[in-house]
């Protein structure tokens, strides 16, 4: 009887802990059935989107480890990556060397923006997510100033295919056809009609290994300590502020690399809007994978990208077969995707309160027991 109960409790705990991914698995299953897509098509699409998005999403893990929540400030790294890509496109550096050069160029920009973001987040401790989110709009304005007014006038841009007809500023779409899928096509193999971009996956695997290794380093342990309790970490001699800034800088640099991988896969990017939703998509996908504001793993990244992007692929078609309008499916996808972020955040808060009240109840019980013991002695 006891075993049965504990099994039921375990199952309930598992359900509670994985409500969001389970919900998404069910919705995806229904949408896949309704869409009627073949498995090879779906697999092809999901693998392409994994190669495109996983690196960006992995960049979110380190700030979570440092207790800074979901880093909406990753968008700053994406902007750095885009500026680097514009310069590389103008210098006509093509293929993999172009991607590598863009990554190298993005590093100083990302570090600068990461430093700024980290310092601001230290000032707004406890409100890192909203600070990062609003910071995006501020830095977005700076980005527009640089790209729309300084490029071509102050920063030399020679190719008229990139510049606006007025002679300065960058066109609304930046063409990267000369580096399109250069990473994805390198060492790509096709298994049963499904293209697997081995080089891209190797780069992702390297980042995963880096994250696993980093967690075991002194700095990684410091970040975990800071993430668990800042005051205790400070008492233990850890430079809390510095550790938090480093975590944001690392995340921003990786986000810049991720954006470059993302854009090379697509072959162009909308100059002024490509970065605006990237943080939101990555965070939504991570939450869909079962992560929370204070806990995320590499497994959450992979599960999230599979579920979130399966939804992207199948929802319009499922909507079309249900209502004869793909737009309905698209609205449904947006509604569910952003609803999930809300749900995940609410569940996180509820869990935190439950844990707090649980600890309170335990404390009260202990105090009561102590009182009774004292009374009995008297």
């Amino acid at each position: 009887m006891t075993n049965k109960k504990s099994f039921g409790q375990k199952a309930l705990g598992l359900l509670r802990g994985n409500t969001v991914p389970l919900m998404f698995i069910v919705i995806c299953g229904i949408c896949i059935y309704l869409s009627g897509f073949s498995w090879s098509y779906l697999l092809n699409q999901v693998i392409t989107r994994m190669g495109r998005n996983v690196f960006l999403m992995l960049s979110l893990l380190i700030p979570i480890m440092a207790g800074m929540g979901l880093n909406f400030g990753m968008t700053l790294g994406a902007m750095a990556g885009e500026i680097a890509l514009i310069l590389v496109a103008d210098w006509q550096i093509w293929g993999i060397p172009g991607v590598v050069l863009a990554m190298l160029l993005s590093i100083p920009l990302s570090v600068l923006m990461g430093l700024m973001c980290g310092k601001l987040m230290n000032l707004a401790r406890g409100r890192e997510m909203i600070t990062g989110y609003i910071l995006n709009y501020f830095v977005g304005g700076l980005y527009q100033f640089v790209v729309l007014f300084m490029m071509g006038s102050v920063i030399p841009i020679t190719h008229s295919t990139l510049k606006l007809p007025r002679g300065y500023g960058i066109r609304t779409t930046t063409d990267l056809s000369n580096m399109r899928q250069c990473l994805d096509n390198q060492w790509a193999i096709t298994v049963g009609g499904v293209k697997i971009p081995l080089l891209t996956f190797a780069i992702i695997a390297l980042l995963c290994l880096f994250i696993v290794w980093f967690r075991r380093t002194k700095l990684g342990q410091d970040m975990r300590a800071v993430g668990q309790d800042m005051e205790v970490a400070r008492d233990a001699g850890i430079k809390v502020e510095r550790t938090r800034i480093i975590s944001i800088v690392i995340s921003t640099v990786f986000a810049g690399f991720g954006m470059i991988i993302y854009c090379q896969n697509i072959g162009n990017f909308p100059t002024y809007t490509a970065h605006t939703q990237i943080g939101m998509f990555c965070i939504a996908a991570l939450l869909v994978g079962g992560a929370s504001v204070e806990r995320a793993s590499i497994g959450n990244v992979f599960l999230g990208v599979i579920l979130f992007h399966t939804m992207f692929i199948v929802a319009p078609k499922a909507g079309q077969s249900l209502t004869a309008s793909p737009q309905i499916g698209e609205y449904f996808r947006v509604f569910v995707s952003y609803g999930v972020i809300t749900l995940a955040l609410i569940m996180y808060e509820a869990k935190k309160r439950r844990a707090k009240s649980g600890t309170g109840a335990l404390l009260a019980q202990a105090q009561k027991a102590q009182k009774e013991e004292g009374g009995a002695r008297a």
């Binding site: 210098w91 172009g98 007809p165 697509i266 990017f269 002024y272 809007t273 490509a274 939703q277």
Partner: protein, 165 residues
């Protein structure tokens, strides 16, 4: 200890700059135009070949040029290797030759005149630059999203959608 740290940092920075410089050299892309057109140099005319086939790395099939034809190919890096099969005149015997060239770094679209090149003329006779016509001068509206600086989020993976379309 501090000096050693600074030294290591400087070495890493130098290595990164070195890699970036190397990428700029090996990744410089050129659109190379091959011309099989008659050319006049120092009062002498060098006639176009009847047919030229050029095998270039990265192209699935050899590029075929009849007299007065122009073809284009892309070349990443500064070295271009051409395997040419040249037929001088109709019903003539084709001959094979290989050409290795260094492309100028600052030239986006070098035009190589094959009759001048294969007749051993100096570079100024066979190398020219392709200047593309300026793109449409219609003013382009820059879409910066809504008044809050972003879209409504309804566009989804919008960049991907552009390519899928």
């Amino acid at each position: 200890m501090k000096a050693r740290k600074i030294l290591i940092r400087l070495a890493v920075l130098a290595a990164l700059i070195g890699v970036a410089a190397w990428m700029m050299v090996i990744g410089r892309g050129h659109t190379v135009y091959l011309d099989n057109k008659s050319v006049e140099y120092n009062g002498q005319e060098y006639k176009a070949f009847y047919r030229v086939e050029a095998a270039v790395k990265g192209e699935e099939k050899p590029l075929r040029m009849d007299a007065r034809d122009r073809v284009s190919t892309i070349c990443i890096g500064q070295s271009l290797h051409l395997d040419l099969t040249v037929t001088d005149e109709k019903d003539g015997q084709p001959r094979s030759l290989s050409v290795d060239l260094k492309l100028p770094y600052n030239m986006d679209g070098p035009i190589l005149n094959l009759p001048a090149l294969l007749n051993g003329l100096p570079q100024e006779a066979w190398l020219d630059e392709f200047i593309p016509a300026p793109p449409s001068e219609e003013p382009e509206d820059v879409e910066l999203g809504d008044e809050f600086g972003g879209g409504l989020g309804l566009e989804g993976d919008d960049v991907g959608a552009i390519m899928d379309a």
